[in-house]
């Protein structure tokens, strides 16, 4: 009997562990956010939230309105958290060579070096910074992933110098000199491919950001039992799992 119980306990624990790791949003220690602004005549827009829990970062980066294709393939937008400098996006005066394009190098005194690569998969270190395969692909995309924060990025977030930069311009929007120039980072690529398009400083949130909206509607009562039942999202789930009869006869106010 005892043996059986102990044996049975294993899958139960395993299930509990799965339930825990699958929970959508553990309360973060600190959340950061930014609405990205346009650089170099970019027409794109973007937002990012970064929730830090322990040494894990959960990033949701949403980008849209960017150039869609590059050499007949989805345009790869390399994107990073830069840090360790002034924590700002470069002003037009950052264009030192006068080609009307602020290159990544010209922007560095403002936003610093790459501290994290916001890759779509795999490596998030600066080493993946120019890997086009793990850049954001095409005009609009979302990167939603959790990874371990390195010390440089942690420090930059704390110091307020962490700046999100999404790279990759439409070459047609550049000056003639800009169109002719090669990338300051990868000479095999045109300057447009690696120059900054969107930029925003990561700021600590004014609140601990709630997950999603609010359950401020009481599910319509259809039965006669008005007994005080516990309400909440959980009950709604139970009611659904209980099948059609339960749903038809739902008697309590499950907040939904």
């Amino acid at each position: 009997m005892k043996k059986t119980l102990r044996f049975m306990a294993v899958p139960t624990l395993a299930l509990a562990a799965i339930a825990l790791s699958g929970s959508p949003a553990m309360a973060a220690d600190q959340s950061y956010q930014s609405t990205l602004g346009q650089l170099n005549g970019s027409a794109g827009s973007g937002t990012i939230t970064l929730d830090v829990t322990g040494d894990q970062a959960h990033v949701v980066l949403k980008v849209s309105g960017m150039p869609a294709t590059f050499m007949d393939a989805p345009y790869p937008h390399v994107q990073h958290i830069h840090g360790g400098a002034q924590g700002v996006c470069p002003a037009p005066s950052a264009d030192k060579d006068g080609d009307k394009v602020i290159s990544t190098t010209e922007g560095a005194p403002s936003y610093g070096a790459i501290v994290t690569t916001l890759s779509t998969s795999g490596d998030t270190s600066p080493a993946a910074g120019l890997d086009l395969k793990v850049g954001g692909q095409g005009a609009s995309y979302t990167v939603d992933r959790t990874f371990e924060l390195n010390a440089e990025t942690k420090a930059a977030l704390k110091a307020g110098t962490a700046v999100v930069v999404v790279h990759g311009l439409d070459p047609a929007t550049l000056s003639a000199a800009g169109q002719a120039a090669k990338s300051d980072l990868a000479p095999t690529l045109p300057l447009a491919a690696t120059s900054p398009a969107l930029c925003g400083t990561l700021k600590a949130g004014q609140m601990k950001m709630p997950a999603g909206g609010a359950d401020t509607g009481v599910t319509q009562e259809t039965g006669t039992d008005t007994g005080a039942l516990a309400v909440g999202g959980g009950l709604a789930l139970i009611a659904l799992a209980g099948g059609a009869y339960v749903i038809r006869r739902r008697t309590a106010g499950a907040a939904a």
Binding site: G213, A214, D215, E221, T222
Partner: protein
């Protein structure tokens, strides 16, 4: 204004006058909500800035109540831009806000950064439900009022 917790919320143009509960987040990170009775008050999310303090102060109220009764925020959708919202605070002061706009969002695609994101001034968010689906009995949407502290 400095940080001082809210006590009551009054919206004269739609006849709202309610005490404010102070509620936090659930285990899963979503907002705790007030009770479901017809006399349930509205609530202030105690993780958000105090009303009058810099940032978006977040308040919640049910659109309806148990037994098909009206909730404290039943008329939020009728709240017009320019209307005044008064929040009394524990320090005895009143923060007066002006309604900027209202917006309806699907709960599946709720724009958390737009609603809860940083603001340069003191702002207020009033949240209730919308999008009632008679087939399921659920409310699929949230309705959000954006208001700014009166200068």
């Amino acid at each position: 204004m400095g940080a001082s917790a809210p006590v009551t919320l009054a919206i004269p143009s739609i006849g709202v006058r309610t005490d404010l509960l102070h509620l936090g987040l659930r285990e899963n990170g979503s907002l705790e909500v007030p009770g479901t009775g017809s006399d349930a008050p509205a609530s202030w999310y105690n993780g958000s800035p105090a009303p009058g303090e810099r940032g978006p102060s977040v308040m919640l109220g049910h659109v309806n109540a148990l037994g098909g009764a009206r909730g404290v925020f039943a008329d939020l959708r009728n709240l017009a831009p320019g209307s005044e919202i008064n929040v009394s605070r524990t320090d005895g002061s009143t923060a007066v806000f002006t309604v900027d706009r209202g917006a309806k969002y699907s709960k599946n695609q709720f724009p958390t950064l737009e609603v809860y994101g940083n603001t340069s001034g003191a702002e207020l968010r009033l949240i209730t439900c919308d999008g009632y689906d008679p087939a399921t009995g659920f409310f699929d949407d949230n309705y959000v009022i954006y208001a700014k502290l009166k200068a």
